[in-house]
Subunit: 233 residues, 2 copies
């Protein structure tokens, strides 16, 4: 399944609140992304529960970044807990990616490889030029190894565009950094991403349902404008 | 507390087996290190249980590698589950390290920053020279930010030696890669590390208790030889 839409990063540790928000936003998002804070506090049973109450797939954003042996076992346990998709850090090396992707493929679980991150000092240890080189190589290797997609920063639409050129049209690009981190709704998709990941802007809103709906409509509007423009010209 | 000894990487997902091994090896190791596969399968309550049945501190080897906001929350939840120490990936950037170390300090929780990893294709995306530069910078920043220590690969004793020169005598160096990954017991400590992390060699042994004891004695023997040598010369 491939659309253009929003993935909600449900980083809410209070699990009753999290479940409520998940149900509230379910009609406006394509997938729910969860991270370790929720799992460490509550346990990984929440993955199945969120799937059950929303009918949506769950992306376990575990950014797997261990040696190959342990990474593979993180992947295995996450698959056993019924996650539909898992994120992996690219920088750890080819072997970790290879083993995790192979295992996930066997169970029909999607894999998304982080190329470069969305926060502002992601280039602290590598300068911008080196980070660019490394992240583009990671994207190429992710494609070569048959990952479902890559993760690219919505905070830098030009980078998303470049990553789309690199991976071609078959891979899915998911893009975090919309909202609290500075990206505007539609920026990443218009630059070539498939999904925009939105977290805090929705779950910290006074009315998450209303906010999710607003962002959904804004995205539809921007996509429609672009479509009309391309028809007119 | 600072000694020279073994940290057991208890990467055993079957929790009854894991508890048994933890108790079996407790007299021969200084700390128990656990990772995500065990937590994802069983829940993070296992941290407290392992502390209770062994009387040893537990290192949550979560290799935190997310954006600053989420990394801080992983740290918070891990502290709440009573971990004594947590590992962080350095490459993610200074801000993630800074926020996590500050939070851990407040609760007296130790922080260990991964400089470079122990597996054989850790230099796949950065070549060896660049990885060396980046990892040494990570070590300097870890020291500057007041981390408890760093993680350096026992598979490369020369690198451990170099990291010791960089961080000086006050920081703790813990070193994975002994046994299954190729390092010999004592290699890392003799090169300047404080603790050697040993996982598979112990927990996959037919008799983990016997194996842990053997490795403990081998380590003591090697340390004694060196001491005697330095007294003689």
């Amino acid at each position: 399944m491939r659309g253009k839409g929003i993935i909600h990063a449900l980083d809410v540790e209070d699990i009753d609140k999290a479940f409520k928000i998940a149900v509230d936003v379910k009609d406006y998002v394509e997938m729910i992304k969860i991270s370790y804070p929720m799992i460490i506090r509550n346990g990984s049973w929440v993955i199945e529960k969120i799937k059950e109450i929303t009918g949506l797939p769950v992306l376990a954003c575990f950014k797997i970044a261990d040696i190959p042996e342990i990474s593979k076992r993180i992947m295995k346990e996450t698959i056993d807990k019924d996650a539909d998709a898992v994120t992996l850090h690219g920088f750890v090396g080819r072997k970790t990616l290879e083993e995790c992707i192979k295992l996930a493929d066997k169970f029909g679980v999607e894999t998304y490889v982080v190329t470069e991150m969305s926060h502002d000092d992601a280039d602290y240890f590598l300068n911008r030029e080196l980070l660019t080189q490394v992240s583009e190589r990671i994207a190429r290797v992710a494609k070569e190894l048959g990952a479902t997609g890559i993760v690219a920063p919505a905070t830098k639409p030009q980078r998303v565009k470049k990553f789309r050129e690199i991976v071609g049209s078959d891979m899915i690009i998911i893009s975090p950094g919309i909202g609290a981190q500075g990206g505007k709704v539609g920026d990443a998709i218009l630059a070539g991403a498939d999904y925009e990941i939105i977290g805090r802007s929705i779950y910290t809103a006074p009315d998450p349902k209303k906010k999710a709906r607003e962002m959904y409509l804004t995205l539809q509007e921007r996509l429609r404008e672009v479509k009309e423009e391309s028809v007119l010209h």
